[in-house]
């Protein structure tokens, strides 16, 4: 029953809707990177961009019945987790020294 129900999700929704959705999410993430000054929100926007790419990879994987793209999504998740751990450690270290995470203040890399 669920197999029939979920199978219709791929058939009823054309791939271009997924392309449009993930392009929109990626653009919002890119906008956030350019728009915000808080370094943590910039990190969050980068996560949003990574997730847009993940969504499109999973969509193509389902349309082709190919598991390789879903394995790539695993690797992207692992890289994102590593990136967030190191990035937030750097940011908290900077905050301890500079007392700010405004990227316009941090543009010198030294203080």
């Amino acid at each position: 029953m669920t197999g029939i129900l979920l199978q219709s999700a791929i058939i009823s929704t054309p791939i271009e809707w997924y392309i449009l959705l993930s392009a929109a999410l990626f653009t919002i993430g890119a906008c956030g990177v350019m728009f915000k000054r808080n370094a943590i929100i910039i990190f969050a926007s980068v996560e949003l961009m990574l997730n847009a790419v993940n969504l499109l990879l999973v969509a193509f994987s389902s349309y082709h019945s190919d598991a390789s793209a879903q394995v790539f999504v695993f690797f992207i998740m692992a890289v994102a987790a590593a990136e967030v751990a190191v990035g937030l450690a750097i940011l908290s270290m900077i905050y301890r020294n500079v007392k700010s995470i405004d990227i316009d203040v941090l543009s010198k890399l030294r203080h």
Binding site: I28, K36, A44, N51, A82, V86, A89
Partner: protein, 174 residues
């Protein structure tokens, strides 16, 4: 009218609903002034994307996505924001022209992306549609067969990231 509505499968409605939630909350991530609200909206976006994974028959990825993103990464974000005691007052803003420039260039990027990916419309679903592709058995066979070496490399990457984060986070390295 009612027959028209019934002709559309329920999964299509779920797709529209999840897309709407994901899009709206993604905009709110960028638009909201309070950093904690931004991160909370990002968590809702991630749940909507997990719902999309379920619709696309990637059941295992949906569960892993919720555990890794909503469970681990977002908690880390919230913890760091609360540790730094950031709120609406500490948030500084860019000049209005810079904001317009950012939104304009993002729109240009959207147009470019949509135009570049336009040819994929001809792509249709593979003839024997396999709905079991997202199950843990198939993914495990692929991951530990074809992609065994990248898997080991990613474990080294995670170890290096963990050691690096601890070394950076230490108060004074002597």
């Amino acid at each position: 009218m009612s027959t028209l509505l019934l002709n559309i499968p329920v999964t299509q409605y779920m797709f529209y609903f999840l897309s709407f939630v994901a899009f709206l909350c993604a905009i709110m991530v960028v638009a909201s002034k309070n950093p904690i609200h931004s991160i909370l909206y990002l968590i809702i976006t991630f749940f909507a994307i997990a719902g999309h994974y379920l619709l696309l028959n990637a059941q295992f990825l949906a569960v892993v996505h919720i555990i890794v993103y909503a469970g681990a990464i977002m908690v880390l974000f919230l913890y760091v924001i609360m540790m730094m005691n950031l709120n609406e007052d500490t948030e500084s803003h860019k000049h209005i022209y810079l904001k317009f420039a950012a939104v304009g260039s993002a729109l240009l990027l959207l147009i470019t992306l949509v135009a570049a990916l336009k040819g994929a419309e001809k792509l249709t679903a593979a003839a024997p549609l396999n709905t079991n592709v997202g199950l843990i058995k198939n993914l495990g066979t692929t991951l530990f067969g074809e992609y065994l070496f990248p898997f080991e490399v990613s474990s080294i990457l995670l170890l290096a990231a963990m050691v690096g984060a601890i070394m950076i986070g230490k108060k004074d390295i002597k």
